[in-house]
């Protein structure tokens, strides 16, 4: 007897087992899969699913950042050095009594002449900050003039 094919709950109308069997046994060409095809697919899976390799840190990747940091350090050093020179120049400007842009022996002579002639003395000429404008301030100018003009000797 041609029994209905057992159907699942949501299948609907029953189907003859004979028909189902005939459908399944239809002689159609089955494709045989060569092992090379299997190997190709599984190799692709290995590549795709392999855990990511740890990133190797290459100097070439960091070179731009290192170069920028180094340039920033150099710029900072230069700025500090120039700032020191500027401060020195500001201090030196006080001793530049004749206003020629240099602190030299002429500035010392200028102050000495003022002192000898009893000319009015601007308090800014108190270069050693002892409260008086006197020969000691002339010596201060001389000292600065020598230190700015002459290189350090070891």
């Amino acid at each position: 007897m041609n029994q209905p094919h057992p159907s699942s709950e949501n299948d609907g109308a029953p189907v003859p087992e004979k028909l189902v069997s005939a459908l399944r046994h239809l002689r159609h060409e089955r494709v045989l899969v060569p092992s090379a095809v299997d190997a190709a697919v599984l190799a692709q899976a290995r590549r795709r699913l392999a855990p990511p390799r740890p990133k190797i840190i290459r100097l070439a990747d960091w070179w731009p950042w290192l170069a920028t940091a180094a340039a920033a350090c150099v710029a900072l050093l230069v700025a500090v050095h120039l700032g020191g020179l500027w401060t020195g120049r500001l201090a030196a400007a006080r001793e530049d009594l004749d206003g020629n842009g240099r602190v030299d022996i002429l500035d010392a002579f200028a102050l000495a002449r003022r002192l000898e002639r009893g000319m009015p003395l601007d308090p800014k000429f108190d270069l050693n900050h002892d409260g008086r404008v006197d020969q000691h301030d002339v010596e201060t100018i001389v000292t600065h003039a020598v230190s700015l003009d002459k290189p350090h000797r070891s």
Partner: protein, 170 residues
């Protein structure tokens, strides 16, 4: 597989390989094309990792992929045919052995070949590939009601055809 488990993929591959390649053969009409489609199907699946979550039966997911890749491969092959000969319409059912002819299976193959593709496909997915109706609906991206309707109509056509009504005899 999101955790890089190649073993899980291998199990999945061997479990569904034959179904995929024979489905591809059904659509493409050529065994060599079917093998190409087999590889392309699983390569397509692998590209989804990491981060992919399957939200339906695996064959429901694979079916439209295999179908589209097969039809594309078939069209390319037909364009490349120098003598204009087309690939077999339904090579899966065109050839029959003598014992099939005696049992009437050859008539069944003929009648199946005469069904529309949508009717034939629902019938085969249900009774040859063993998919449930809900899985067929997902795979073909059609409503469940449409699946039931097509299956019913396909069976009615087989029942009414003199060559296959014997299968419905009590």
């Amino acid at each position: 597989m999101n955790g890089g488990d190649e073993g899980a993929f291998e199990v999945l591959y061997y479990r569904h390989r034959d179904w995929v390649v024979n489905l591809a053969r059904r659509f493409s009409g050529d065994a060599d094309l079917a093998l190409d489609v087999l590889q392309e199907t699983f390569f397509y699946f692998l590209k989804k990792f990491p981060g992919f979550t399957l939200t339906c039966q695996f064959r429901s997911f694979l079916y439209p992929v295999v179908r589209n890749l097969s039809l594309t491969a078939r069209r390319k092959a037909e364009r490349g045919q120098s003598d204009g000969a087309e690939l077999d319409e339904l090579p899966a059912f065109a050839s029959c052995q003598p014992e099939d002819r005696e049992s009437g299976h050859s008539h069944l193959a003929e009648v199946l070949a005469g069904l529309s593709e949508e009717h034939r496909e629902v019938l085969l997915l249900r009774f040859v590939d063993g998919l449930r109706l809900g899985e067929i609906a997902e795979a073909m991206e059609i409503p469940l009601g449409t699946v039931k309707s097509r299956l019913h109509n396909a069976l009615e056509l087989l029942r009414e055809d003199p060559r296959t009504k014997e299968f419905f005899a009590p």
